[in-house]
Amino acid sequence: MSGNDINRRNFLKFMGLGGVGAATLTGCDMPTTVTIEEGKEKVVSYLAPEEYVIPGIGNWFASTCQQCPSGCGVHGRVREGRVLKLEGNPETLNGNGLCMMGQASLQTHYNPDRITQPMARKGGSLVPVSWDEAWKLLQENAGKVDAGRSAWFTGTVSGHQAVLLKALNKAWGSQDHYVYEAINNAVGEAVNEAVLGEAVPAYHLNKAKAILSFGADFLGTWVSPVHFAKQYAEFRTGDRGILMQVEPKMSLTGANADMWVAARPGTEGVVALGIANVLISKHQVSGSVLPQAALDVIAQYDVNKVTEVSGVSGDQLVRMANYLRGNSPSLVLSGESAHNHENGYQNAMAAMMLNILLGNVGKTIDGSNKLAVEELQAKTGSSAALLKFAEAVDAGKYDVVFFKGTNPLFTAPVAMDLAGKLAKVPFKVSLSMFLDDTTMQADLVLPLSSPYEEWNTSVAPYQPVEAAISMSQPLMNPLSSETRSFGDLLLGMLKHHGVDGYDFPSYYAYLQDAMDKLPASIKGSAVDFWADSVQKGYVKATAEGGSLTTKLGDLSQKAVDVGGDFPMHLVPSSNQTMWDGRNANLPWMQEQPDQISKVFWDSWAEIHPKTAAKLGVHEGDYIRIKSDQGSIDVKVYIYKGVHVDAVAVPMGRGHKEYGRYAKGNGVNPLSILSEVIEPTSGELATHGTRVSITKTGEHEELPRLGGSETQVGRRLVSTVSAEVFRRTEGA
């Protein structure tokens, strides 16, 4: 409706006036008001469509979502050459499920802020250049670097892109490929590797009767949320399982829990030891499965000690132990709010100890199957990679660095001074769809096509039962003729380097060839393997995994610092809307109210009512959160679902660049992180920053859906208090 000033609201107003007389239909014959245009819009017919194309009716094609590292299979509805809607591919790991980030990935594809041509830095700013010039610049600056003086810094990479990237690095004589994800499970993986002998085991939430989760937001952001949501539904059906969540700030999973416990941030391990203590001393659970050293540590943490350290009451501790004892098999998980501390490894180790003590290993945690083609497996990210990268860059190790699929200048703590360190790299290349914070600092920007415009294979990092190679096919023609797929660029670079064996006209041709060379055991009996794979959207290729070990490590806990000038704990919480910030440029995700605070389009700080009373602030009042690295001013949201000594600010907003929807919205809590490191895994302890909060005196209304916490006596949803429930239901 171009050039038409009737919008939905005016239409409804107009209908409200005219609609009263609907019986006589006055007001329904006003072509001058409800404009019906003639000759304003264009209609373009197909030139010669495929036989199955019917304008107005969609066709569904299989592809893969790349909005987060999970890599879910999707079906996309395509109509009139446009992809309009995505759903989960029913035959893949997640079934019909697709999370809201996946749904919103269409807005990544159609985003008005996409880069549509190569850009190069000239006279200090990025200016558009032709592809010829871009390749020339690449050849001049990156073509002749000495062996080992180039590096790749990417997000999760898998499939044939990983294969090409490895080949390219080899041609460059470099081993350095840093894989960085700000939201990761790296500490948990390190503990799994040490104890179970496998970094990513298979979790069976559906087989558990009770789940105790230390900050693992498995319905929101932990490992594979859509898959776990499905298992969780099974867990809650029939003989309803009990969910307990221990964390400093209520997550989506916490909000669903039967019992939500706010432990002092960083003391999750102590709580786990306390539960073990109760299980052994009160419930006579045999400790013989644990080494003596572990039992000695557990013996130190009786109820009183645990309450003193963690603030979790003896009653809560005993109830958690009772639930675990009475509902076997159980499952104990740990996630980011337990992991991302200086003592995160010990926290995760203590949680794992409970699994061993309760005999869950082999029942609800199992050996995971693997992808049969090892070279295609996903390279998952950690923040240790970021730290190592920063160090190498600072030492002047690289002449050329390539960035792809990650935005470290947004997610890295300012304390690291990554921007300053990157200035030591003479030539930075960013392969990106958007001018994000990192791309803006690049010397050469190569525009990528969207995941729905390109051919690709990828492998989901977590697929414990049936492993598969996920196929991506273009769901529509590229929106811009100047964007290129990552695969094509890798292939192009290999050719420019004169590497033998990559003489393919396109990545598409390379993929067809590479897929054709898969072993016969994977290809199976399909008449046309390629067409069959593309149509289904996946190729099953499972290699059976081994069983798990139970080699428990050191359990001794480190005391959490009291804080001094900075008494509060900063919790940079993750959620399924912004993720690590990559979704901040999607209006659907900005508009999506947070599950707990219901805030949209802005940042907020969650504090406990007691903390708010002490400070004298009300909802919408600004507080200044100050760490030893700087401060942020942010509006408060007051809620009981946060520890009294914690202030939670969601991460993902506060971009300085990244397009019209992201720029200038909210604040970035990661910017004031202290450089605290978890020593065993080398991970950045993002929850380890101590802060002080003060009232600034400013006030602004918090943009929030609903605006009322109560039902104002209308009984829209009947509720019963926890006390009454416990008394009457005997739970």
Binding site: F11, E41, E50, M476
Partner: protein
């Protein structure tokens, strides 16, 4: 099914239904020497079981890249509307025919005419003409051709599909007498609702406003 490399790739054109066959044989007959013969338009036929909507409108002349003569096709040559607007019975839109469909005939017929030369130029450049939309509805109105064609033609006892143009004319006017189409009916909500009332069509708001 998978997407081909190019959505707009050239595919084969398949003739649809017996109307097409008849038309093609007719064309050959014409080429064989009946060239000068004028076909007489079919007599106005009643559409059974329908109270046609009332109302008229005098639309603007909408210029088109090629002045497509509906009269020559639908009246003189008696081509069924749905031969070209083939999606009307299956989809919400009736569809502008693919350029390949035009070329199916016009690689041999009337190739010397200026409009056909223009069309051939588009085809050879692998482009489709950008037509200007004549019959448009606001975005908050969901209209589907399929339901209407099914109700008035295919599920309408005693209705001959050969006379479909009479049904099309309810909303589009007598296109057979036009060159390029022109809006002849008001297409307002009142126009729709009165017809729905007269013919027992659905009256739920959300049938159209969804």
């Amino acid at each position: 099914m998978f997407v081909s490399n190019n959505f707009l790739s050239e595919g084969c054109v398949k003739c649809v239904g017996k109307t097409a066959k008849r038309f093609v044989s007719m064309v050959f007959a014409a080429l064989l020497g009946f060239g000068g013969l004028m076909f007489v338009g079919a007599a106005q036929a009643e559409v059974p079981n329908v109270v046609p909507p009332e109302g008229s409108y005098s639309g603007e002349d909408v210029p088109q890249p090629i002045e497509f003569p509906h009269d020559i096709h639908a009246d003189v040559n008696e081509i069924n509307c749905m031969y070209c607007h083939t999606y009307a019975r299956r989809s919400k839109v009736s569809g502008i025919p693919p350029t390949s469909k035009c070329m199916g005939c016009h690689t041999v017929i009337a190739t010397d005419k200026p409009r056909i030369k223009k069309l051939t130029e588009y085809w050879e450049n692998k482009e489709s003409p950008e037509w200007n939309k004549v019959h448009d509805l606001p975005d908050f109105v969901h209209f589907t051709h399929e339901k209407h064609i099914q109700r008035f033609v295919f599920k309408n006892e005693g209705m001959d599909v050969e006379n479909v143009s009479e049904v099309c004319a309810f909303c589009h006017g007598d296109v057979k007498s036009m060159t390029v189409a022109k809006k002849m009916k008001p297409l307002t909500m009142g126009f729709c609702v009165r017809c729905h009332e007269a013919n027992d069509g659905p009256s739920d708001c959300w049938k159209c406003h969804k």
